[in-house]
Symmetry: C2
Subunit: 348 residues, 2 copies
DNA sequence: CTGAAAGCGCTTACAG
DNA sequence: CTGAAAGCGCTTACAG
C-alpha cells in the first residue's frame, strides 16, 4: 500500500545555524548562542534576547548538540549497556534508568551486549561518541568483558555485576540476604525438608550467593540438610527438576528456586502430575518477582529485587563519577519478601 | 562500603586526536583519518597504513564520532521513542530494533515518551543531536503528539501507530485480521455464545480494529450476537469483566479478550470462583501472546503479534527514508494464531 | 552586556 | 597516494 506522498527529503535544506539566526537578528553569533545557553541567558539583555528568539522562531532554529558536544568537551550522553537475554527485572531497571537520565537532561545511547557480541566493540562505539559515562546493567557479563570495561577512560557504573576487585562503583542486589531472609521465613512457616534449585551453568554471577544465603539461612535454624537440584532458569527446566525432586523417597516439602520461571514449572508439575496441593502438601518459593507470580493460579511467594533502589543508586553513582574524582563505592540494595499463598503456615 | 580507589578522573588527559597520531606517525592529519575511514582505507598505501595504525595503538587513539558527525552532516544515530507503559510485546520489538540497528553500525538514542511527558521535548532533543532518523514504537501516542511528529524534518517511521492521514511510513499489526482469524477459529471449534472484552478507555489506537475484526469474523459465520464487555487491560479488570459475564443468564461459552492479562483474570475467576472447567465448559482466547500464556496453568490460545516482522520492516523503512526521498509506505504485518489448550474443539 | 576570534576534531574538495 | 586548507556549528576566553 503506497501512495504519492513522500518522506521529507533527507537532503532537505540545511537546518538553520546560530550564524543564520545572528544575521537575521542583526547580532553576533556568540550572542545567539548565549541566549540558548542556560548558564548565560540571564546575563543577556531582554532586547537582544527578544530579537534572537524571534529570529530563531522564524527560522525554526534548533541548536546543534553535536557541535556543542565537540566544543564543550562533553556530550550529555550516557551509554547504557543491557544484556540480550535479560528479563522483566532488568527491563524494569533499564526503564527507570532511562527515565531518570532523561529527566536530568541527559541522553541515553543504548547498546545490547549479546553474549556472543563483543563488549569491546560496544565500548569502542560508546567511546567514539565521547559519552560522559557508562552504566552497565547486564546480568551476563563475562570476565573477559569485565577486563575490557576496566580499560574505559570514562566513568563507569555496574548494576548487578559483582567484581572481586572493584575498579569502579557498582550497585548490587544483596542476593545473599534475600535468600537468607527467605530461608528464615520458610523455616518459621514450618518447612521440614528443603530443596534448592539453582542454575549453575548460567554465567550469571549472582547464583552462588543466592544458594549460599539460603543454605546459611537454614543452618542458622539448625537445618543442615537441603537437597540441591539445578536447572537453567527456564520453565521447562523447573518442571524437570521438580520431577526429580518429587520422585525421591525423601521428597522435600519446601522448594526454593533461584528464579521464578523455574518455580512456575515446579508448581505445575507438583499439582498436575503429582496431584499435590500447594501449599498444603508442598511449599514453593522463588527468587525474583515476575508478573505471573501475582496471578491467582500461582500466588508465588518471592524475593523481590529492589529495582527502584538499584536504578536510583546507579544514577547517583554515575553522576558523582562524572562530577569529578570520587571514591569507588559498592552499594548493596536490599531485596524484600513478597509473601503470597504458595507457602503453608503451620507454625507461628 | 567505600575504599580508597577512585574512578578514572573525568578530567583525565584528553584522548588522543588524529593530529596527535599524525605527529607521532610523521604523516598528515588527513591521512590518519583516511586510514580510519572505511571508504578510503583501501586507497592508502600499506606503509602509511602501518605507521598510522602503530601510532594509533600506542596512543590509544579512538576516533571522535562527534567531530565526524559535525563535518559529515550525519550522526549515525537513530532516535527510538518508546512508551512508558508498554508491555512485553513492545519490549521485544524494541530489543529487536536495537539489535538490528547496532548490527548495521548505527547507534540508538533512546527516549521514553511517557504519556504525561511532552513528545515535543523528546523530539527537540532528538533533533538537537541531529539524528539521522526516528523510529516511534509506542502504543500510546496521542493525536497531539502525532501533530508534533508531523513536523519532524528528519525521516520518521511509526511502529503500530495508526494515522488516518499518513505523513510518514509506518508498519502496523493487522489487528483486524488477527481478530477475524481468531473468530473463525472459535466458531469452527464449536463456540455458540460469544463475548468480547475490550479496553475502550485506553488511548491505544488499535482497540476498535480488534473488536471490529472479531465481530465481523463472527458475522461471516452467521453469528450476529456477541456480548460486549470491557476492562482496562489489567488482570483485575479481566476478573471483574468475567464475573459480570458469568453472572448473566445467557452466559457465554466463549470469551475473547483484547489483551492476555485480562484473559488470565477471566480464566482464574471462571475456574476458582465459578468452578468452570476450561476448555470443557468455557473457552477463552486473547489477543497478544505474553509469557504466562504458555504456562500449563493457562495454556491460553492467543493471537501472536509478529514482532520480528514489525521490527524488520521498521528497519527497512527507516533505512529507505534515510537513503533519500522515498514513497510513504503503510505496511501491515500479519499476526498468527497460537493454538493452545484453552479452547475446546467440539467440531471438525 | 556584546562582539571578534580561535579552536573543538574531524571531513572534504583541491592540488600535487 | 598524500598533504594543506577550509569548514562543519558551536563554546570559550578575551576585549571593549
Amino acid at each position: 500500500m503506497k501512495n504519492e506522498k513522500r518522506h521529507p527529503s533527507s537532503a532537505a535544506t540545511r537546518p538553520a545555524t546560530s550564524r543564520d539566526v545572528a544575521k537575521r537578528a542583526g547580532v553576533s553569533q556568540s550572542s545567539v548562542c548565549r541566549v540558548f545557553d542556560e548558564r548565560w541567558n540571564s546575563k543577556v539583555s531582554p532586547a537582544l534576547r527578544e530579537k534572537v528568539l524571534a529570529a530563531a522562531r522564524e527560522l525554526g532554529y534548533c541548536s546543534n548538540a553535536i557541535a556543542r558536544s565537540l566544543t564543550a568537551q562533553h556530550s550529555g550522553i550516557i551509554g547504557v549497556i543491557i544484556s540480550e537475554d535479560f528479563n522483566e527485572f532488568y527491563y524494569d531497571v533499564m526503564r527507570r534508568i532511562t527515565n531518570s537520565l532523561q529527566e536530568l537532561g541527559m541522553r541515553v545511547m543504548l547498546f545490547n551486549a549479546a553474549p556472543y557480541r563483543d563488549v569491546k566493540q560496544v565500548l569502542r562505539s560508546l567511546l567514539e561518541y565521547r559519552v560522559d559515562g557508562i552504566i552497565v546493567t547486564a546480568a551476563a557479563i563475562s570476565t573477559v568483558a569485565e577486563a575490557t570495561l576496566q580499560e574505559s577512560p570514562v566513568p563507569l557504573v555496574l548494576v548487578n555485576i559483582y567484581s572481586r576487585t572493584p575498579f569502579c562503583s557498582s550497585v548490587i542486589c544483596d542476593n545473599y540476604s534475600g535468600s537468607q531472609n527467605m530461608a528464615d521465613y520458610l523455616v518459621r512457616s514450618g518447612g521440614q525438608r528443603f530443596a534448592y534449585i539453582s542454575a549453575e551453568n548460567s554465567k550469571y554471577y549472582d547464583i552462588s550467593d543466592r544458594r549460599e544465603g539460603f543454605l546459611n539461612g537454614l543452618r542458622r535454624h539448625g537445618v543442615y540438610d537441603c537437597i540441591l537440584e539445578s536447572g537453567d532458569y527456564t520453565y521447562e527446566s523447573g518442571k524437570e527438576a521438580a520431577r526429580r525432586l518429587l520422585d525421591r523417597p525423601d521428597r522435600p516439602d519446601t522448594i526454593f528456586s533461584c528464579g521464578s520461571r523455574m518455580a512456575y514449572g515446579v508448581m505445575d508439575v507438583a499439582r498436575y502430575e503429582y496431584n499435590l496441593k500447594i501449599p498444603e502438601e508442598l511449599s514453593v518459593a522463588a527468587y525474583d518477582d515476575t508478573f505471573a507470580s501475582a496471578l491467582d493460579s500461582y500466588r508465588l511467594t518471592t524475593v523481590q529485587q529492589p529495582s527502584q533502589e538499584l536504578s536510583r543508586t546507579a544514577i547517583r553513582l554515575i553522576r558523582q563519577a562524572i562530577e569529578g574524582p570520587s571514591p569507588i563505592e559498592t552499594v548493596y540494595a536490599m531485596p524484600s519478601l513478597e509473601i503470597r499463598g504458595s507457602v503453608r503456615r503451620t507454625s507461628e
